[in-house]
Symmetry: C2
Subunit: 428 residues, 2 copies
């Protein structure tokens, strides 16, 4: 790539960001009614252009197949009519959600008569950097529009034509409802430099949300001067306490690992208290074997795995650190809850940790002792999810501590303003 291309990308990205900024000025003043009309118009337009969108997507998929892309990625890239219908109806679901903008978070009157209200307002311009799934293009646009934000979308090059068409269809629908088309824009240029310009567009872009693998997230965090919300990295643990109900523990462990193993809220390690290992492990190993799980265990796990015929590999530090996203699980026997807590503190990614126990004091100590976005007591780690939590929509699961932690819904796409009303008040 020549220097000229990079410079072109730079000015093109900044121009797009400036247009987003201008659109954001209008978006923050739109009524809920107007934004919902825009969402519904987008859904209708996507349905009306379904054939053309599917055709363009088929070309993206063919090009990716010729380039040797693996089947999993090809599947995530594919948009057929039924997936497109789900995407369109998700926009209508977002229209049904309450508008977070204008929500009064706190309000009170000071002794001097000043009325203070802390009110939710849009963030402004939100940048989303994501990988192959074209549904993110529409989902993110819908959530940002509903929360009054302009969105800059930076998908993967393999989905570029599909994303470009989805965005074009939505932009036209917005214009027809009197909403600035620049509420939804694709970041131009597919070079690495175009991302870099996005990541350093302080003052134009208010927040970046990377959605994808650990490599993507790390590169955004390290290269960005725009504030970043990290999402979706999960090394989740299930701790089976001495006072666990064995049946519940086995059911939760298998669910947490195997119900859907390719997601960030799946369990990647389980730890069992030595006092209950003899009762728990024979049942657990059989259940894991039946679910097709390979156990990466310590020496105390081995005999139980062998007895049950569960696939077994000796555990290493790489296993404790791993997010397998596969039917593998690291496993160890611990002599106390303190040992379990120390292990979790060392290896946790701060996503979701679960304890299975019937002891109030154990549950209390575990909740106090781990530091994560979500702590489950006698429930599967798989519940850490915006949909399950009743948020109606989710832009991602934050694993950082600032601004938003855990599933992020519409309120997490806002900031606040203190509106203070006086009657000539001055400070003495």
């Amino acid at each position: 790539m020549s220097t000229t291309d990079a410079a072109d990308d730079g000015s093109a990205v900044l121009a797009v960001a400036q247009r987003a900024r201008d659109a954001a000025t209008v978006l923050r003043t739109l009524t809920r009614e107007h934004k919902d009309a825009g969402l519904i118009a987008c859904a209708a337009a996507l349905r009306a252009h379904a054939d053309a969108i599917v055709a363009v997507n088929t070309e993206d998929v063919s090009r990716a197949r010729e380039a040797g892309t693996d089947e999993g990625l090809l599947d995530r890239l594919t948009l057929d009519r039924s997936r497109l219908e789900s995407i369109a109806s998700a926009l209508e679901d977002v229209a049904d959600l309450p508008d977070p903008v204008g929500d009064v978070v706190r309000g009170y009157t000071l002794p001097n008569g000043l009325e203070v209200r802390q009110v939710r307002v849009p963030l402004g311009v939100v940048g989303i950097i994501y990988e192959a799934r074209p549904n993110v293009t529409v989902d993110a646009a819908g959530l940002c529009l509903k929360s009054g934000n302009a969105v800059l979308l930076r998908g993967s090059s393999s989905a570029y034509a599909t994303n470009a068409m989805l965005v074009e269809v939505m932009r036209r629908a917005l214009m027809e409802t009197g909403i600035p088309a620049d509420a939804v824009q694709l970041v131009p240029g597919m070079t690495h430099d175009s991302v870099k310009y996005l990541m350093t567009a302080r003052g134009l872009v208010d927040v970046l949300i990377p959605r994808g693998g650990e490599g993507l997230i790390r590169s955004v965090v390290e290269g960005s001067t725009v504030p970043v919300i990290e999402t979706g990295v999960g090394n989740c643990h299930v701790y089976v306490d001495r006072d666990a109900d064995i049946d519940k523990a086995v059911r939760i462990l298998v669910n947490a690992k195997a119900q859907r193993c390719s997601v960030c809220n799946a369990a990647e390690t389980f730890l069992v208290h030595a006092d209950v290992a003899g009762r728990f492990l024979p049942v657990a190993m059989a259940a894991l074997r039946d679910a097709g799980v390979t156990v990466h265990g310590d020496d105390r796990m081995r005999p139980y795995a062998e007895a049950a015929g569960t696939p077994f590999v000796p555990v290493t530090d790489a296993d404790w650190a791993a997010e397998y996203y596969s039917l593998d699980i690291a496993a160890g026997v611990v002599d106390s809850m303190d040992d379990a807590l120390r292990h979790i503190r060392r290896w946790s990614s701060g996503h979701t940790e679960a304890i299975i126990t019937d002891s109030q004091s154990a549950a209390r100590a575990f909740v106090a002792g781990v530091d994560a976005a979500a702590v489950m007591v006698n429930a599967s780690t798989r519940f850490t999810d915006g949909g399950e939590f009743g948020f109606g929509a989710e832009i991602g699961i934050s694993t950082q501590k600032l601004h938003a932690r855990g599933p992020m819904g519409l309120p997490e796409l806002t900031t606040t303003t203190y509106v203070v009303v006086g009657d000539g008040h001055i400070r003495e």
Copy 2:
């Protein structure tokens, strides 16, 4: 500085950060009672060691004076007995505030019976990077302890001996109350590299809060991979609307500019609607003159300034951008509120914007049209302050949009965990 020094600083900073991390594990489980006892013990210890602290500070001040430090900075560096007493009693005030940790932000039961509670928990390890004032050392330590966080303090080299003694006195007091001394630590090393190690200690440090001038804040934002909360940059505007009450407008403008001009919530620009300029400006110019203010105004301002004998300089773009922190103010006449909003959007630092108007619709349009941490209607910009807002304490005023915006009190030093309690719940 040799490479060896830098490497030494690096490992020393990381060792200190690791000790803070370990202390944070204990701090998050402390009761309010225990933390308050620590705060009160620190206050008592500072009083008991007042003579020694003042003596060390006197040496810091002498060294700074010999190095040619200006009088304003020397004053901020100085700690006499009365200032030390204020600092100690501020710790006791913090003890009186409610504990934000454990506060349930939201709580509900899902249709499947899962009980979801979003609970405030400490951030973990907070780094504060600040300039000369040694009171920040104690204030920040107190607020972080109350909110269950370990703090890493990185003050200026000119206050090093004072800060080291303040920290040592507090650490000993904490130990005596059974709180880990490493709850409060000074970052070792005064080289630029020691700050760099702090700014890149991801995983050990949860958030950095720079407090000081724009240069300090910019360098932390640009050099840090640890999340940063920006504080305290304020280019605040006062807009006098066509429907303003003249007396209130003059009183508020003078208060916003001149009551204390060296702070971030002082006004730096005023804009007046052309329709009211003829009535407002003669009174305003006289009042600004009496308050010792120099007006940097546009051509339409000049005749009013000259008639009142108010010091006048033609305004430039540098003035619109300036945070004077002095008795200077930029000023312009606008033909409409839209012009005022365009001006503010272009030059605002997003701190505080004020409108003076008796019109409901004008107030509504202004609040909707500006994007700032605080918007004042008929009140002085000087009210944007944790103390004035009734927070009882303030770690700084955030001018960014993520996590905290506006005055930051104790709740802003926390994050949340979703605690989810089930009874064997699995996801279908």
